[in-house]
């Protein structure tokens, strides 16, 4: 099963902090969105392994835009 982690706030992608193949736990930070100069953490809502990164630094984000795909066990 794949789970998609999406942007919860609009803004710019400040950085992605995980790499494909990396295992993540629920609550782990996977990316950071810069919204109005504030850095907001995007967290995984599942346990699993990062399968795909869909965004890069400086991409414009809207709420709900898929950012990271995580393969769950």
């Amino acid at each position: 099963m794949n789970a998609t982690i999406a942007a919860h706030m609009p803004g710019l992608v400040a950085r992605v902090v995980v790499e494909p193949g990396q295992s993540v736990a629920k609550g782990d930070e996977v990316a950071v969105i810069n919204c109005m100069k504030a850095e907001l953490s995007v967290e995984s809502h599942v346990d699993g392994t990062v399968k795909e990164i869909l965004v890069k630094e400086w991409d414009e984000m809207e709420v709900g835009v898929p950012m990271v795909v995580v393969e769950t066990a």
């Binding site: 706030m9 609009p10 803004g11 710019l12 919204c35 109005m36 100069k37 504030a38 907001l40 400086w58 414009e60 984000m61």
Partner: protein, 463 residues
Amino acid sequence: MISKVLIANRGEIVRRVVRACGDLGLRAAAVYSDADADASYTRQADEAYRIGEANPVKSYLNIEALVGAIKESGADAVHPGYGFLSENADFAEAVESAGAIWIGPPSTILRAIESKCYCRQIATKVGVPVVPGSTEVLTTPDEVREIGHRVNYPLLLKLDRGGGGKGIEKVEEPGQIDEVFDRVRRIGTMAFGNADIYVEMAITEPRHIEVQFLADRRGNVVCLGERECSIQRRHQKIIEESPSPVVTPVQREQLTDYATKLAQGMGYVGAGTMEFLRSGTGNFYFMEVNARLQVEHPVSEFVTGHDIVQWQLRIADGESLTFTQDDVRLTGHSIEARCYAEEPGTFRPSPGTIKGLHLPTMGRHVRIDHALEVGGAVPPYYDPLIAKVISWDTDRAGAIEYLKQALSEFWVEGVATTVPVNLLILSSEAYVSARLHTAFLDELFAQEVAWDAYTPKRFVSDS
């Protein structure tokens, strides 16, 4: 002679500069990113030019695109506003190379005063106290240890060309120096491309007091009083006022003398601000110069009657100051409340679209600087400041009451605002009795706040 001014910024400050241009009979050209294509400020200007994508790096921080707009518009001067590239020597130099006038200090002076050590050396030369520490860049942790023998711990390690509070780290005892030194160097390299470090003694219970000044090309300097900016949250100012309730007339005279000597020592031209720290024991130390128009300039305009933006334009156009320090009188008291698009309790950003708006009634006691309109966007890409509400009265208590009244009429639908935070601060006993310090908000938020009591009531009808 300047005839057209390009304003390299966005939002409320563009409207402010457009008005000053209009007052002086100059044309004003705005710039916009894709996120601001429909923004109200672009329509208030006489012309507007697209400079790039929403990402500020591709637009408002894009020197090449801005120089393109100068050429396209035929502007003969550039006003940089605040933030973005307003103190950037590379941009100032690019403007000068494009044959336009930079409204601010020349690029050579901007380049020099970027260095905090250079400014500390100037201060020492002209007899203005600086926080004890080094006036030279330190290249090894051992040099920090040496300073530590002369001044008291804790020390603050700072970046010579830093800003925005980044790369300022405290050292409690000599054993921590190596580790902190390396960390500050890394931050400097990453954030500013420069890892030069200097050291200062940490000042306890500091208050931020800043002096507004104007300097013309002939070396005349006048100061327009001080501003108290102690109510902050993570380097974000929330409430500012002039005059400062803790500065006595004798201290004001001293600060005026300090700021004047500093500006002359730097060869400064234009409007600027000298920032001072006041220690718990009442000593003033020069901190840094802000080489731009500041967000909080309206409080100084209210108490002195001088239009700082008009003076920026006039000085850039070669005019000399028409008044002296003796002519400056501070009349009454002025307070500015910054309104941010953030949740009041958590300060979580709240971008969106303005769906409903009612602004306070203006008059002799109230001024509002903003670029809001129904249907207008508050984009997630830029600073959350959306409006400034400024009051004036003959005394501080009156200014507080006028500001509270105005803020209680400030109603916005579509985004959350920090207006309730402003009302909470202005209603607190600590603010009214002027017990201001940098931990002010932490104490105020220590207890649960009934935000409803501080939320402006909706009093516009459904259309």
